[in-house]
């Protein structure tokens, strides 16, 4: 018992809040400038093309009308998902993409970029070595720059090795905004009433009330305190 007291004391002392630095409150309370204006404008200008198989083009400006009812439905789904994504309520895309018209090398580059986790960045060289062409860094840059479905396939998560932004089809302001957005969007959320953990953007996670949301760092963590993964969105272990 004596040992417990010792640890308790030690911990209490260890966690004692430091005296507040002068001006701390003001610094904390000062609102940071949001870069969401650029993203807001982007959303209004987006045009989306689709085939019956999936989304085939995301660009600003005019695009062709969908040819089939299936394509129209996919476009609607994509619009909704992009809207949620840009408002920090979605951490993955469900809508299928159609890359059949994309040449083989570029398709492999895009598939590699798809494996960059939400909220993170990788250098162009990382993508190049991942597809087995370690020296083709420039070609990777070109392939990403011609990404037919930006946002949905995350070419914005590829940065320069020196930390520079690199280019982006919608401009570097948007690229920066997306990085900031993904940095503040959680990926795994549990519901305190059902004890189920979902990927953010799952229909179940959208139904959670705001005060019932808790964020988890991994499915394993969530399991350790009695949550189970959602059977619909199946967050990876």
């Amino acid at each position: 018992m004596g040992k417990t007291d010792h640890l308790d004391l030690l911990l209490t002392d260890y966690f004692r809040p430091e005296a507040a630095a002068p001006g701390l409150a003001r610094r904390l309370a000062s609102a940071v400038g949001e870069s969401s204006a650029a993203l807001e404008r982007l959303e209004q200008r987006l045009g989306i093309e689709a085939t019956s198989e999936g989304i085939s083009l995301v660009r600003t400006g005019r695009v062709d009308k969908p040819g089939t009812a299936a394509a129209r439905r996919l476009i609607e789904q994509a619009r909704e998902e992009i809207h949620e994504y840009l408002h920090g309520r979605r951490a993955f895309f469900r809508v299928p993409v159609d890359l059949r018209a994309v040449p083989d090398f570029r398709r492999r580059v895009l598939e590699a970029a798809r494996h960059i986790p939400f909220g993170e960045g990788r250098p162009y060289a990382w993508v190049a070595s991942r597809i087995g062409h370690a020296r083709a860094v420039r070609a990777v840059g070109t392939a990403l720059g011609r990404n037919p479905v930006p946002l949905i396939l995350p070419c914005h998560r590829v940065w320069r090795s020196d930390g520079g932004l690199g280019g982006y089809i919608f401009g570097t302001g948007v690229k920066n905004g997306l990085a900031a957005l993904e940095r503040t969007t959680p990926v795994l959320e549990g519901c305190t009433t059902t004890r189920i953990v979902c990927r953010v953007g799952c229909i179940h996670s959208r139904r959670m009330r705001q005060e019932n949301r808790v964020v988890f760092a991994s499915v394993q963590d969530a399991r350790s305190v009695g949550y189970r993964p959602c059977k619909l969105c199946r967050p990876a272990a």
Binding site: L7, A20, R26, L28, A31, R195, F216, S224
Partner: protein, 177 residues
């Protein structure tokens, strides 16, 4: 308690002075929790700032059944946990960081020498238990409040805390403290 809720009402109405008051009242404690969880002072300040902003934006949706501190801690831990997740995946992918992750994360934040052992032992405790320990010892929160903040049962809180402390004791024992 009612004073706090009045404060929240003023924040909800966009009262800047009330918001500064809120930051003043809870800032240091929030910062202590975030600092111990994230390891660096800069990251902690960033997390607290984001938490306060979220609280400012969501003040209208604040439910008076909650204590203001519980509500703030929930928001803050959500942010910190997500930051920890990001770090965990980043470290797996970037081999250079794996070796130095601990020292890199804590380089900005130097605990007193006496606590170095505790600081290192703390990094060995599983994430969820670590979060609960930090909340428990910074503000002396009750089991009920901890359960509410993390959305888990009181029994889970107790078992996690006990497990975390047992691990700490083990680690410290090995180092002969």
């Amino acid at each position: 308690m009612d004073a706090e809720r009045g404060l929240m009402r003023r924040v909800a109405h966009g009262d800047q002075a009330a918001f500064t008051d809120l930051a003043q009242r809870y800032g240091p404690k929030l910062l202590a929790v975030a600092g111990r969880l994230l390891g660096s002072r800069a990251d902690a300040e960033d997390a607290v700032q984001r938490a306060l902003l979220q609280c400012y934006a969501g003040a209208a949706g604040y439910d008076a059944r909650w204590a203001v501190s519980t509500w703030l801690y929930r928001i803050l831990t959500n942010i910190c946990v997500d930051e920890l997740r990001r770090r965990a995946t980043r470290n797996v992918h970037d081999e250079r960081l794996v070796a130095g992750s601990l020292s890199a994360a804590s380089s900005n934040h130097r605990p007193p020498a006496a606590y170095l052992d505790l600081h290192r032992a703390f990094a060995r405790v599983p994430r969820e238990a670590r979060i609960l320990l930090a909340l428990r010892y910074v503000d002396g929160l009750s089991y009920g409040e901890l359960a509410r903040i993390r959305g888990i049962s009181i029994n889970t809180v107790k078992s996690q805390l006990a497990r975390g402390k047992a691990l700490l004791r083990d680690e410290l024992g090995k180092r002969g403290v």
